[in-house]
Amino acid sequence: MARSDVKLIGAWASPFVMRPRIALNLKSVPYEFLQETFGSKSELLLKSNPVHKKIPVLLHGDKPVCESNIIVEYIDDTWSSSGPSMLPSDPYDRAMARFWAAYIDEKWFVALKSFLKAGGEEEKKAVIAQLEEGNAFLEKAFIDCSKGKPFFNGDNIGYLDIALGCFLAWLRVTELAVSHKILDEAKTPSLSKWAENFCNDPAVKPVMPETAKLAEFAKKIFPKPQA
């Protein structure tokens, strides 16, 4: 049956897991969501991703695909005739999308994560500076990639929208926890508008965690009290 042919091992709170979920929604691919319990790893996960032992893992038939952005591209390649393409057709535009997706994981998200863990004022200031530089880069990248359309991928959300947008709920939770506006309409107007559009997309809404629920969860896994 089509439904059991595609499974996704993941967890509701993980932004990385959100990525393939949005992609599967965009392509109207039914799948079984196998939720991992926080704090433990299932046999299936360890067997399907022996290298990293991390979620998400897509199981297509019995073949596992790991690493969230790689899974998104796999979904785009496999169900190419269903729904719009998640990457632009031009090789240079595709390179830009991949470049910025890698930047988001290597630099931007690392900075966001460290904000929640940041101790003193000095540390916080340094992280804020990093995030502001990152946001400025992404604001410009959005203007370049979107070419006047609502999303990085143009008329519809795509690979890069998903790569960044998956962090929006965590971004809101962090803003609340540290009492600082990280995504500021005054500084990054285009990115802010994009964020609003992204969160309202029908492929995103069902899988975007509620801020309150996520904030509760964050308190559990980041025990250090903030602000």
């Binding site: 290298v51 695909v65 690493e67 591209e73 796999y74 390649d77 496999t78 390179a95 930047y103």
Partner: protein, 227 residues
């Protein structure tokens, strides 16, 4: 024959001893693409480099018809999509996903772990060597029954993993530890021999003597000597 219009201009900002730069040269050479190479002094970066890669300020940067692309894995995919002769990535979506997975593994796991050996001695060094070997075992298993990671011929993972063959393995002499002993890694050793049988590889890797000299000169006691 690779098509080339009059206006097509390919330039690579790189560094002769960098595995990330050399992998781009391998890809371009495999595809028969002519390019202008610009050697960067990484201790004194040119204003051109800073202008073309403001985000990371690093080589390699490929410039095609005036448009810059950074990040070696992104550049490799761009090259494969732009010049279609001698494909580097497989066509099949699953095989493609696996190639991307292993390439990421080499750069984000093997390279990062192996680099930690820098400046370490004794037990600390041994721990890093052990960790590196555990990671290399995954690659060892991937090579069983194959001439190359790409199967019968060179592919994406082979090009990326030249980092292991001609950088990590070349530093063994300087590090004073056989990180990749043939008894433990017969497949990897067999694969290196296969690589050395390929004309493009032979042409594009740094000449051994100069390379070893460079690594020795750059390191105090233990260094993998890449940028």
């Amino acid at each position: 024959m690779a098509e080339r219009s009059e206006s097509e201009e390919v330039k690579l900002l790189g560094m002769w001893a960098s595995p990330f730069s050399r992998r781009i040269e391998i890809a371009l050479t495999l595809k028969g693409v002519s390019y202008e190479f610009s050697e960067e002094d990484i201790t004194n970066k040119s204003s051109l480099l800073l202008q073309l890669n403001p985000v990371y300020k690093m080589i390699p940067v490929l410039v095609h018809n005036g448009k810059p692309i950074s990040e070696s894995l992104v550049i490799l995919e761009y090259i494969d999509e732009t010049w279609r002769d001698n494909p580097i990535l497989p066509q099949d979506p699953y095989e493609k996903a696996m190639a991307r997975f292993w390439a990421k593994f080499v750069d984000e796991q093997i390279y990062v772990t192996a680099m930690k050996v820098v400046g370490k001695i004794g037990e600390e060094r041994d721990a890093v060597v052990e960790a590196t070997r555990d990671l290399l075992m995954f690659l060892e298993k991937e090579l069983v029954g194959k001439d190359f990671f790409g199967g019968r011929s060179l592919g994406f993972v082979d090009i990326v993993a030249t980092l292991v063959a001609f950088w990590l393995m070349r530093t063994e002499e300087i590090v004073g530890v056989k990180v990749v002993p043939v008894e433990k890694f017969p497949e990897i050793h067999r694969w290196v021999k296969n690589l050395l049988g390929n004309d493009v590889i032979k042409k594009c890797i740094p000449p051994e003597d100069e390379h070893l000299q460079y690594i020795r000169a750059r390191s105090c006691v233990l260094s993998l000597g890449f940028v």
